[in-house]
Subunit: 343 residues, 4 copies
């Protein structure tokens, strides 16, 4: 059984484990004030090309979303998210548990546009409703699509005109930035969004998301929020060491590129077999629509999510590749798929 | 510079890192449903001697406290803590941020008694006040003291008589259970408290606390709370692998015993030097009271917390030992201390 | 200018003011423990025909919704509401501010059905999502429709089968129960829903909603929640005196019947003029669809809400009648409408 | 049985009820946008002597405290209160339920000083603790004492130097300002505190507190918070009409002066009888210390709170006077007290 279920099925890239082993007996300060974390943050700032951002290392996506969003908003302010947004339906109400409503926008491709945001603002004119304040976007999105630079520029301008905070969930930012269709640099992000994070967990780390706060007004006292939400690890070095390794010699981008390359292999071959896709997704998640019988057949040797029923006989499945996906397993999957199609 | 600042200055015990390396490429389910976590939980239940408890693995102490306490309480119910309790003054209002007041009891030795609890209940007779509901205790406490079995039995009985939940913060449970003065077995805990946790972070793991829920009424839907608070790691295997290693061949207890032995060395020698202590602490934290000049002298070679000023010329310092504390460093510290005392 | 804008434009029914004046100098206990409140609760229980319910008097709808729902739910549990539900879009995120997500169901007529609820349950299978737990319905709904008994019986059965709490917002319960199309008695409600409230504010009181908790499991410690949410008035007598008057001699039902009769007059005449309605609403709110020019014309003498644009030239307006609506004003409105139509 | 139990035992001053009756059938906008509320706010601003403050009318003290404090603070920020503070022990954790810790200061006279505040700041140096941000004071305090102008000036200066918000609970502000020992004018308050409220409920209104927000940074979007916490009454006129009456012709101050005069009568006579007091309280609450037998004797004809046990044979009782307290009842009480003392 080989799994295309997600991008967190294996442990960490071996270089990361090595780095943990090598540094193991050095005594360090706790709570993210160790030398590794400080160096990692310096290296990240250098990579991003900005020294005036604040960077904090957290453990996972839900934790980062809830800590950042609750820190950024006042009690009556709400987040806006695409209906596919992770915070909306896959985090057990974590944002609401901190007191904030999330306003949902139906978005077929998982992405938000200024026109959609304007409609939400129009529908929330006064104090009987929450005040929409933070725009939550994911890049890549939960259904594999990515934002192009001009789309982000438009969102940025809209947010500026309407005093909105633009926040990017980057749990899969590596895959987005390394997509063949991407035209955004990591160094573009600080002027495009107010805060974003660089996902480590889904790109080769054991745990770890690097939150980058770009807008000055959002920076104050952020470590208090980390501590309050249980996000400040006693051994913060665990996060620092991993990000230090991920951003030394481009490992982070190499891993994402590998994941994308494996997805591209799957996409091309499946496409060649005349199989349609649920969404256009130029990143490490693809959603082919297969006959149910074929899905059952494939499940004997591969594990993956059945994403949604498309019609009585067909369903979309989700195939996720990662830094650890093996090319021979991809080849085997395609072979098995083609064999099954012929039957 | 050698640090006696805390028990999380180094990484993890090498066996734990080895276990991570060895298991690294096995594909596993996410979110704590991997085989390692399931085995670790089985092993923990076996060690505890109870199969009817629920066990969840979380990352750190604050996260465990806030997730458990907010899951256990209704909105109007409050926790009770000793004034030294970690949740009261060292977690940035994490419990209050989930909506619950903490009622403080002055407790010189860091421990609570039924008489003190009764006074709190008496002072909260009606709906104009919060309803005291959960008794938070730490073992070992934040100032190194430990609970004896008869003390826990008394608390247990009091809680039963008053419909209170008894919750034990076990961030340093290893050190408590391996203390020379301890008379409690890990397997005693399920009938003494309603929930407790076994701290890994401060006893050889990178991160990790094993929450044991003993009372049936507190078990329902707990995984929802984990997810909502950002405590459900995508790579839950990271926690499972560590606890599996910690509880194979008694490693957990060996590490705690080493920490205690190092503390005992310090305690004996310091005591022999006629130096008084702030608290009686038979675990891995000790609080000698030293002349300020001597403290300054020691700080040239050792780092530790200056805990509190005792009088104009003296302060208590906190020395913490751990699984990683080196015996020769302890010996050197004592030598340096004695030298300085002679001067 | 005469207002059909809402049912809270005037003060209170004169009998209520009289009752306040007459009782004014009697010294009473505070916080709802006065004799008037106790008598009012007794009278309400008698009217409902059940002595085993718990009744609490609160000030307004939003306060009642947020106090009850936050008391009834655990942190990971969510409410379900029709998309028109007051808690969803007109209470500034009051429910979310207590930590709970509201799941929205598109419902053209403002009412929920078991099939819709089942779909929500299906979409929330595990701990990565909130757990749907409380079904919020309004009667009459925000768009004037009312529940028939068989609809409530079906919801009741569905909730029982799925361990859901059924909660009825009765801010306009009077109008619903006095509707010509209604087949539910106040005394039916305790076995149909788990909790509901009887709205006073929109039916002749200055302020006041009587929350009736029918299910035993929801009753415990409710006064703590009242106090915590700022809902326990020092002079609770203000609420008690009003409900005592409202339920003496059927005043409550007489007032609601008057409001409905005035709406019926409007509905019949407008309907006779071949004007369509946005929704079928047999209660005190009606939503005729008028040419925009006509609306502008009417706004010179009457105030009302323009509810929503229907097409380029037409909009639905909302006309609300109340206990205080004057029949001659209704007649004048109809005359003005008919005159304008002829033009 | 005559009650000195509190200052909310009766209804409202007859002029207020008259005003309600007279205005009853005027149609008005809802949610505090009626003409009465607008006029009342104008009148209040005039009385305070400042047009640049924001004023909102709420129902009660707990509601005002929780709405204001949760609006003013970010999630990691805490309030500071005297140990006698109403928010600390008599509001069922209402502040904590909005996510904020309250730090307690032991204060014998119910008042806070800069030195005490400095000690709290010193004890909260970093992100492992909440950040003290709002200083909550009551005037008059819960034990009847009042702030002198120089004390407030000192607090004001301290708060300015330390970026703290100074918030005054004025549930009994009338009695404080009309105390013989008071040297503060209502018009002094906007430059002494950042926000305060003028209590109506305990000074002749049915319900009603007028919150005055003086600092610009705290004003933004406040109506959203009112709505979210259930504090925006549909018939906001109920509050407007009352405050309009209270501040027309000085009624508010006349009522408070009457209450104080009645307390002064009690204080003088009791003092003349050589009975000691628990606190010095120059407002409408006094706390004589009486033999327990005498208390029992008095309870046959009068109701009041037994405040606290002083020694085995004596307890302090609380006598509260109000706008409605009758002078002949005060005389009777004193006579009964003196008779009992002779026995």
């Amino acid at each position: 059984m080989y799994s295309f279920k997600n991008d967190y099925s294996e442990g960490a890239h071996p270089r990361i484990l090595n780095a943990l082993v090598e540094s193991n007996f050095e005594q360090e300060e706790g709570y993210g004030q160790d030398r590794f974390t400080r160096k990692a943050i310096e290296l990240l700032k250098e990579t991003i090309g900005r020294t005036d951002v604040d960077i904090h290392l957290l453990s996972g996506g839900t934790q980062t979303n809830l800590t950042a969003i609750s820190a950024f908003l006042r009690p009556h302010e709400a987040a806006i998210s695409a209906s596919t947004g992770h915070i909306l339906g896959h985090e057990t109400g974590a944002i609401e548990a901190t007191g904030h409503k999330i306003l949902s926008i139906e978005a077929e491709d998982g992405k938000l546009t200024p026109a959609q945001l304007q409609a939400v603002l129009n529908a929330h004119p006064d104090e009987h409703m929450v005040k929409p304040k933070l725009v939550y976007i994911s890049n890549s999105t939960e259904i594999g699509s990515i934002y192009k630079k001009d789309e982000l520029v438009q969102l940025r301008n809209f947010c500026d005109e309407n005093q909105l905070i633009l926040f990017m969930d980057g749990a899969r930012l590596g895959s987005a930035l390394c997509s063949a269709e991407n035209d955004i640099l990591l160094s573009d992000l600080p002027r495009l969004v107010d805060a974003f994070y660089i996902g480590g967990t889904k790109n080769g780390a054991l745990i770890g998301e690097a939150l980058v706060i770009c807008r000055d007004a959002l920076k104050e006292d952020f470590r208090y929020h980390l501590k309050q939400k249980g996000a400040l690890l006693a051994k913060g070095r665990l996060l620092g060491i991993q990000f230090l390794e991920l951003f030394r010699d481009n490992l982070f981008f190499d891993l994402a590129s590998h994941a994308n390359k494996m997805a591209e292999l799957l996409r091309t071959e499946i496409s060649d077999a005349k199989i349609p896709f649920l969404t256009e997704s130029p990143s490490n998640q693809i959603f082919p629509i297969l006959p149910n019988a074929l899905i059952t057949e494939l499940q004997r040797k591969y594990s993956f999510h059945v994403w949604e029923q498309v019609d009585a006989d067909h369903s979309a499945i989700r195939l996720v590749t990662s830094w650890a996906t093996k090319e021979d397993k991809v080849a085997a999957f395609i072979e098995d798929l083609n064999k099954a199609l012929i039957k």
